[in-house]
Each structure stands twice: as C-alpha cells, then as structure tokens.
Symmetry: C2
Subunit: 212 residues, 2 copies
C-alpha cells in the first residue's frame, strides 16, 4: 500500500507527522513524503524543514494521499500545481485524506463538492465556498474522503483509518506502540470546551492561527 | 527563550514534532532543530527526513533542550558526541527534557542519576542501568528535568511545560489553536489499558518498537 504525505512551504508539521507516525506502522505500508518539487520545505513557524523525497509528478499512483493544512489559506486555495496533481490522482486512490485546513485544499481542488468534511474549527466556514459541507466532528468520513479537524486531530484520524484498513488489532497495536494514551493537562482543545474568553480571542485574531 | 530540538538518524519523528508544535507557539520562543552535524537526518521508518538547521556545537546556550527517542537504543546509549554536548549545555539550561527513549539518552549521558524519569513503557527498565528511577507516569518532572512516556506523550509534556513557563492561559490557547481534544478510537494507548494479548505480543517482540 503506497501512502503519499504531501508537504509544502508553510504547512503545519504535526498535521502530517501525527498521522505519518501511525499509518507508517501499517503492515505493508510504503510511505513517501512528496511535494510539488522534491527537496526541503519550511513549515509554518519557520523553524523546521521537512524533506520532500520526491516530486509529486514522479510518484506512482498512491493508494492513500494525506494533505496537511497550514495557516496561509490564501496560498493553499491558489496552489494550482498541487490542486492539479490532486485532481489527477484522486480517481484512483482508495483514500483521499486531509488534516486541518488540508480539507480546504481538497475542497479548492474541487474534490469535496457535496461532501461533508472536517477542518480546523476556525476554517470550517471556508468549506462551503467550494461546495463542501462543514462538520464540527474531529474525524469525518464521507465515502473515501476522510478529513480531520485541526492539527492534532490527524492522530485520531489515522488510528480510525488504520482500524478500517487493517482491523482493530493492528490499530490498537499501533496505539500501544506509540503510547497514545492522551492526558491533556487542560480541557481547552475545542471551542466547545475551552474557556469562552480564549475562544473569542482566537476568533478575533485568527491571524495567530491562520490568515484568510 | 531559545529552544533546541535535537534530531538524529533513527529518531522517532513524533517524539520531537509533537512538542515542537506546542512549544514553538510560546510567546518569545526561538526554536532551532539541531544535530551533531547540520543537515538532514532520516527518521526511524526510513520514510522521512527532517533537517538539522545547525550543528549542536554552533548553537547558543539553550534555555530548553528536548531529546526525542527512537527504536535503536543501542546506538542512543553509545552516541558520545550527543552525550558530550548534553553534558556541556545542561548546567545552564532552564529545562532539560525528553520524550520516549530520549530519557535513556539523557540517562546514558549521566544527567538523570538519582532522578525520577518517564520513558517508553518498553524502555523503563533501561533507566536504572544509568542510575535513574523509572516512573510509569506520562509526564514526570524532577527539578528542571521533564521526561515523557512514549512517542505521543510529548504533546502532553509540552502543554504541561507551556503552562509552567507561560501560564495556563497561554497553554490553553496553544491547545485550542492546535485543536488538541483527543478522541482515540480505542483505549489501547498504555499497557494498563490495552488488551493484554497485544501487550504480551509487543513485550515478546519489542523489536517492532525498539531494539535493545
């Protein structure tokens, strides 16, 4: 099974690395990090470079594609080379997936028309611009399209997918191997549970998280 | 505040990227990924390269050091260049931290003698070899030494540290921005909660996770 993790300048690292850490442990998985061009990309903070080992155009037909998000939604909705590649490979994938605003990329590429999708909670209202139906759920499956909420949701998305692809025993073994027994010190991870003042502050200044 | 995330060939990516995604959002944080030599390292699966932007020897005195783990514990306990650097900078750090078997590296470098530390559940029994006291907790603080359990525990470790460093409002804002509202589809993330047969299987074949 060939999995392609898309990388690009300005992406959020954990969007891709969370699910990579889970899905790369699937029996028979072959994982490739790929970008519009091969070589390093710099993530959104400016502090980290990940390497695209291959150019997307040079990748074999993937069974699974995962598209991470990032704060610069304007760039993501106008990246025609990535969109064109996604449109080209999507008909033959078994799974087309995204984390965070990666769903906005899939939607802007025209792949989520009429489909329900998750995204970062601050980006959900962008999805209808491209004909997608936003959902506040953490992991959303609509046919072969599996989309996750913001940043850290990719881990839950990947374990859900691992169970569907390889069964619950494999998914649980991956969870045990990566000791995914989360204990957040606060219950502030969703606009439904965080202190309202913090939610309002991020809504008023989404530039801290993303620039639309 | 200068944070150094150590990278090396064979490391587990999420060990570093989870806490990086949280701690890089601290106000005033300057983050550097650094290795014994500058340049790309290949992570444990062979499928991903991260770039060390600088050599450790060229980094200014860090306020915080984070050491990730990886499956090849034998290499980690004999990496004298990394150990020497850790011993050199540790006296001036505010926080010396690790995720997963990163604590075995700290311990092998001689920094955890008489201290309580977390590690991957399969590696806890390695800590006493170096005078450290193993703890099954997910995040352990002993003075300025903060150590996390396996792989995904770095996210909880980082939010705990963020609250200590910058206060609970900042930590909760980071949690909300990264939508860290975990919903694992199974409760298999710890040897205490996973199906016993899966725990036994990983114990019998730890090579799936690490080679000691």
């Amino acid at each position: 099974m060939h999995l392609i993790f898309v990388v690009y300048d300005g992406m959020t690292a954990l969007d891709a690395i969370g699910p990579y850490e889970m899905l790369s442990r699937l029996p028979g998985a072959t994982v490739t990090f790929a970008g519009v061009t091969a070589g390093p990309v710099r993530t959104d903070t400016g502090a980290l470079r990940l390497v695209a080992d291959r150019a997307l155009a040079d990748c074999d037909a993937p069974d699974l594609v995962l598209v991470p998000g990032g704060p610069d939604v304007r760039a993501q909705t106008s990246d025609t080379a990535l969109h064109a590649w996604l449109r080209a490979v999507d008909p033959a994938t078994t799974w087309t997936t995204s984390v965070c605003t990666g769903s906005v990329i899939l939607a802007a590429a025209g792949l989520l028309r009429g489909r329900t999708a998750a995204s970062h909670w601050l980006a959900l209202d962008l999805l209808p611009r491209y004909g997608a139906i936003p959902s506040p759920e953490r992991v959303v499956r609509d046919g072969k399209y599996v989309t996750g909420a913001g940043v850290s949701a990719g881990i839950d998305l990947a374990l859900t997918l691992a169970a569907t692809i390889a069964g619950p025993d494999v998914a649980q073994s991956i969870q045990l191997a990566t000791e995914y027994d989360p204990r957040p010190p606060f219950t502030a991870g969703s606009p439904r549970t965080a202190p309202p003042a913090l939610v309002s502050r991020l809504r008023a200044n989404p530039g801290l998280v993303m620039s639309t």
